[in-house]
Symmetry: C2
């Protein structure tokens, strides 16, 4: 493999999980985070040791989307690694930031592993978090082929499946399959906040599944959604219109529109590919 030394910048759930996976493959992993406690905890969990400026084969930037460009510019200025990638859930904005900040775009491979949990922080990390999951890579025309190959090795070492996709196409895709579903789950869950205890006592697995991802961190999700606002808004408008029409049909007593929505739901649900890997959620 092309990665003997890796630098993980941002030792939250995703960064620490990748670090653990790389450690399991014998890679030397250096850890960095603005939060010294997070680095120490990740280190104690066996994810690697604190970075002291060593040069790495690859730097994995696992910070919130709006900080990726800035962090990339700093790391490249220090010559921290030969190849750089990130894990942000949106891709167009970080790439635009990197261009604006004058980053070297030949050594940067924008990435996004489709994996996550409701819990965050290094304590929630798992070496198998990415096992069997898609990991989007969004190389640009200027991306160096060698940099892409090294990043593909990272994905393989984490047990994930690399999916190469244009950055704009990626952002539209995750609006549909991840970001809008998160807010749909939030809206359904929010309606429970005023429900009485008798009602909640009748809740079953269906409700738990529909609303599970709504437990995610609101501030993290605000940042993700802010970076992909228009594609997400488009999906939500369609869902809201379908639900308003269903409510109207229910009030009128003519349920043909409701039946149509139920049928379209069956068709759409059937398009989701089979289960990948572990039991927990994507972000």
């Amino acid at each position: 493999m092309t990665i003997e030394k890796a630098l993980v910048v941002g030792t939250g759930l995703i960064g620490t999980s990748a670090a653990l996976a790389l450690r399991g493959k014998g890679v030397t992993v250096y850890l960095s985070d603005v939060d010294a406690d997070a680095v120490r905890l990740a280190g104690e969990l066996g994810a690697g040791r604190e970075w002291a400026g060593e040069e790495a084969d690859l730097a994995l930037i696992a910070v919130p989307p709006h900080l990726v460009g800035e962090r990339l510019a700093e790391l490249q200025k220090r010559g921290a690694a030969r190849v750089y990638t990130d894990v942000a859930s949106v891709k167009a904005d970080p790439i635009a930031d990197a261009e604006r900040l004058g980053c070297d775009l030949t050594s940067y491979v924008p990435g996004h592993p489709l994996a996550g949990r409701e819990r965050s922080g290094p304590a929630a990390a798992r070496a198998d978090l990415f096992s069997g999951r898609p990991w989007a890579l969004c190389p640009r025309p200027r991306t160096d082929a060698k940099a892409l190959a090294v990043t593909r090795d990272l994905v393989a070492m984490c047990g994930a499946k690399a999916v190469t996709v244009d950055a704009g196409e990626h952002d539209s895709a995750v609006a549909l399959v991840s970001h809008a579903p998160h807010l749909v789950a939030s809206a359904m869950a929010a309606s429970l906040a005023d429900g009485d205890d008798v009602a909640l006592g009748l809740a079953g697995q269906g409700l738990r599944d529909v609303t599970r991802i709504a437990a995610g961190n609101p501030l993290l999700w605000r940042m993700i959604l802010a970076g992909n606002a228009l594609p997400v808004a488009g999906v939500l408008e369609r869902v809201a219109a379908d639900l308003a029409a269903a409510a109207s049909a229910l009030r009128s007593g003519d349920l043909d529109d409701v039946t149509d929505l139920l049928r379209r739901g069956v068709d759409g649900q059937a398009r989701i590919p089979g289960k990948h890997g572990g039991p927990e959620g994507d972000a």
Copy 2:
């Protein structure tokens, strides 16, 4: 126990699962269905034998909601059992039907097990379908105490937890925790129908969970929703309004309303009681 002989009318998923649970407790189970193939298959699965008019201690009416009153009237006319209960997902309409048809309401205990699967029919039945799940019972002022006790024994024999609740309160509750969530899942799933393959290829466990119950039978769900239309419409209107407001906030760039929705979602999700029993969905 008070149940030595039970009659199961309607050998679909729910009826056959209850029959299997009762057989596991040594109860003699008679099976009846308008579909002779369904009765034969349920019998072959060990759920009991075809009913030939024997009198039972309890008759479990497991037919679609709009047929409950009619079937109850027929069975009572034949003197099929001492006690009658049903499993319809809505309760006010079947009770009104029973009253309208002049049924004996002292021996009828309206019921609803909060359990189900996306698959239907006797082949999908499982003896442990109700294990640990809530099973709503909606006795009326006229309900005989003995009939309620016998029905509670049925619930206990199926491994479920009896929850006594007023019929109207039940219908509002399941609108919130089961029927509206179903249509929310359908609307999210419907938006995938036109998604491209790249987008679907990035789908993860979160999307699968949010949309899982949307795979349910559209015609069965149309009947359930028709019987609980106004309470479901009320919940859907609130969810649709929250989603439309979130879309509008995303378009405007002022994400405070989105953050508020995310926070309310966390609060609402936290109100759902812990997991009951098996891995599959309620209906």
